[in-house]
């Protein structure tokens, strides 16, 4: 089957998921992002690449970091950005997703950045829009959050230089996490040899080891000797039925404390996609401690999103 993200010549038309993307595409995005990091340190933090283009931020689900960094990224590329606050727009009056997209396309949209609680929403839009329009998935249900996965691997590459020999532990609510799925695909594509997922049985998807990861239910065992610890947010809003005894109970077993972190390598980095639940999945002393690269992740997210937008717009 044709990869719906790629053009006939193998170049990126949309960014919907990291799954199935060739290694060269990921490396190209990371290398381009590195050049954009330099741009954000200059007197004028803008380049004219997307001058005259209109980027529509279409967020059907709450977001602060992702929506803001997409907006900053588009503005630094000189695009016009239109943010749609969907909770007060027509969808609450019953307009379908594709009708909304058609109407925005009639306003000359060149790019849609889409977040939706339904898995596959960005695919649906990508299959529907005109050939010159690009779609970026900014998170769809439990499925994928490709730009988060990309900024995560950018952050890992920044601090660890390369992926060979790297041990990465992904901890917590993997079941509901599109961030975890995107990161696992990115890491295995780039050749990270040891990716571990750690969590209670109820919060790990069945068959997750088929993605090329090892599974641990004991956090101490899973963290032993790893280079990177990625903590996931406990997604209470997506939980249907009782998967956990309580948040306190979860913290006891799977919260990242200085004692547990001490089992990782001494130079291990700690990441979190945000928003953090302090005292649930991560202890404040770790979140604000010397191993934490959680705020640099946010900053790198701007450059990574600039890279994705400019590569798509040029294809």
């Amino acid at each position: 089957m044709r990869n719906p993200q790629l053009n006939g010549d193998g170049s990126l038309q949309h960014l919907l998921t990291i799954e199935g993307l060739p290694r060269e595409v990921l490396v190209h995005i990371l290398d381009t992002a590195a050049s954009f990091v330099g741009v954000t340190e200059r007197e004028v933090k803008k380049v004219p690449l997307l001058r005259g283009k209109s980027v529509f931020n279409l967020f059907f689900e709450a977001s602060t970091r992702t929506r803001t960094t997409f907006e900053i990224a588009a503005k630094r590329l000189s695009a016009d950005v239109i943010n749609l606050n969907i909770t007060v727009s027509s969808s609450t009056k019953g307009e379908t997703l594709l009708d909304t997209v058609d109407n925005l396309s009639a306003m000359y949209a060149d790019m849609f950045v889409v977040r939706h609680s339904s898995s596959g929403a960005a695919h649906l839009i990508a299959n529907h829009v005109a050939p010159h329009v690009h779609v970026i998935n900014a998170g769809d249900g439990r499925h994928a959050h490709p730009t988060q996965g990309l900024l995560d691997i950018y952050t890992i590459r920044h601090y660890k230089k390369d992926f060979t020999g790297l041990s990465v532990a992904i901890v917590g609510d993997v079941l509901h996490s599109r961030v975890a799925r995107s990161l696992i695909h990115a890491l295995t594509t780039l050749g990270a040899p040891d990716v571990r997922v750690i969590g209670p049985r109820t919060l790990l998807p069945t068959g997750v080891e088929q993605l090329g990861v090892s599974v641990h239910h004991d956090m101490r065992e899973g963290l032993a000797g790893c280079d990177v610890v990625v903590m996931l947010r406990l997604q209470n809003e997506r939980m249907k039925g009782p998967l956990l005894p309580s948040a306190q109970e979860f913290f006891k077993s799977y919260g990242l404390t200085p004692q547990k972190l001490a089992l990782a390598k001494p130079d291990a980095i700690v990441m979190h996609p945000g928003p953090m639940n302090r005292g649930v999945e991560i202890d404040s002393s770790v979140a604000d401690g010397p191993h934490s690269v959680i705020l640099p992740q946010v900053t790198f997210g701007i450059a990574v999103r600039m890279a994705v937008m400019s590569i798509l717009a040029g294809n």
């Binding site: 170049s11 590195a34 050049s35 330099g38 741009v39 007197e43 803008k46 590569i311 040029g314």
Partner: protein, 168 residues
Amino acid sequence: MDLPDAEGLCEELARKLRAGVTESTGLVGIRTGGAWLAERLHRELKVSTPMGTLDISFYRDDFDAAGLHRQVKPSQIPFDVNGRHIVVIDDVLYTGRTVRAAMNELFDYGRPGKIELAALVDRGERQLPIAAQYVGAALSVPAGKLLRLARDERGKFFLRLSDAKPAA
């Protein structure tokens, strides 16, 4: 066609530049050929200001047609451009579009006092009102050919002529 010796042209360019640059001049090479050249000239002219390099991929005027260049590298301007005398260095001056992009990028670092242009080869056929103050040699090259600076494994410069890729 016979191509001139790039090493000889480089010496000629250095000789001409010597009269125009001072300690505080900022030499800025355009990636990749211009950056190699700037590196060499920076060493030979003993300029104390560290040299800069520009990757003009984010400023190209053919982005809509050609897309983003496959290998973008960060630009590096390790000095304050405000008020400074800057010499932009490129291997081959042709349409002038690359130089236009380079000047636009420089202005995003600040307001230079004066910008001059040095090129190893000027092949004419300008499409913009741009001229070089320092030129190694003028050379007529058939349209549709790509002329570039290359380096052998010992770092020796030579010119290479190839067929230009058809526009995407």
